[in-house]
Point group: C2
Chain length 258, copies 2
Amino acid sequence: MRNIGMTVSYDGTAYSGFQRQPDQDTVQGRIEAAITKLTSDQITISASGRTDAGVHARGQVFNFHTTSAIPIERWVLAMNSRLPNDIVVQEAWEAPLDFHARYSAKVKTYRYTILAERNPDLFRRLYEFHHPRPLDIEAMRRGIAYLEGEHDFTSFTSPKSTKQSNVRTIFRSWVEVEHAGSDEAGRGRIHLFLKGNGFLYNMVRIIAGTMMWVGEGKLRPEDIPAIMKTHHRDAAGPMAVAHGLLLWSVEYDGEERI
Amino acid sequence: MRNIGMTVSYDGTAYSGFQRQPDQDTVQGRIEAAITKLTSDQITISASGRTDAGVHARGQVFNFHTTSAIPIERWVLAMNSRLPNDIVVQEAWEAPLDFHARYSAKVKTYRYTILAERNPDLFRRLYEFHHPRPLDIEAMRRGIAYLEGEHDFTSFTSPKSTKQSNVRTIFRSWVEVEHAGSDEAGRGRIHLFLKGNGFLYNMVRIIAGTMMWVGEGKLRPEDIPAIMKTHHRDAAGPMAVAHGLLLWSVEYDGEERI
């Protein structure tokens, strides 16, 4: 028996999310179908986590057990020739038998992208949220920094979340801005990055929506600690749309798998 | 009567090309429908030229005559709220009554993009051609430079072209390379630019396919003048796929309209 790990990128636009569901086109379903075509085995993969409908991944990681003898260096091409164009395997490796993409994951990084320009960027419209008005980027930088550390993130998750504990640690949260045409203040392509040991349901999207309120001046950066302390979803801002969200990378024992 | 000029970007993926055709979804059809919704007039626009199915535009230009009194600064938003997300009006202006987007166009620039990396870039897959092997970029630079000047481009057009003359002037033809991950030679995102006074049917795509042959070593850069002299399509390389092509800009009296 072998345990094979893979890193996969996907464009979530066409799928009903990552997780396999009956009668739905999902990323997991497509990946498992490709492995079955290759190995004639019915297998189930374990991913680092699910992503919602419309959410994308740069470096999702999954693993599966197989008795297939296909050499490890053949897997990437073999999978990609059996996958649709919007799912691309980037890397495959022999993992220790006890490696589990979810339980072994130590660090995950998400990116949420906002284009603060008058006109949308046509060629990235499926991968970023268009915010026509300028945003106070410095306020967003200060606001997102308050999330670093160990906190109860109940205010930033769906009330439907059923996790036993909503305490998570954000190792680093930061903003990167790409110039996107205009020189005006508050303009550009704004990437919000969150690197943590785990994320609750809808957590990154609610944080992104809250940071947009900070950028619009509806909240002050200094309001973030108080919002966390309420432990109540109503205190935070709105949930940002799915398509601006990208699972950036997953790390195992200090190594980013992308 | 007013003559309104507009610059428009579009993602050609979903359309049967620019030009209106019965029972086909086209960019022109969508633009004219949006203008009709706005003005209740049945109008026909004139564009700088058509683009084929799957070809994109960053700065296509068109004009139309109307008696509408809508102030010029309202048009961009008014059009974009009536157009699908993959067609975006960037600018609108009052043009002189004799301005014609095609006949007044002095310079057009096209870009063809090739990703020479092992794996495709998922998020740009609809806007570039994926070439998994490395390319000799210096040879491509030297090859494309031979196209500059006034030449008969019969070798680089479809035999179906019905133009009276195949003589065109290329003012500048050049290569730009973006780093796209790997440091290996011959890797990167390779943009071929062609700036000229006019282009024949399929001309940029046949030039791009020929430059890929140069990059693969199937042709030498020095072969390009001889290929032009044959005046025969068979002498050139293959036609590159449509989706790597982008109408970059159109210039009128020395001014780029984007």
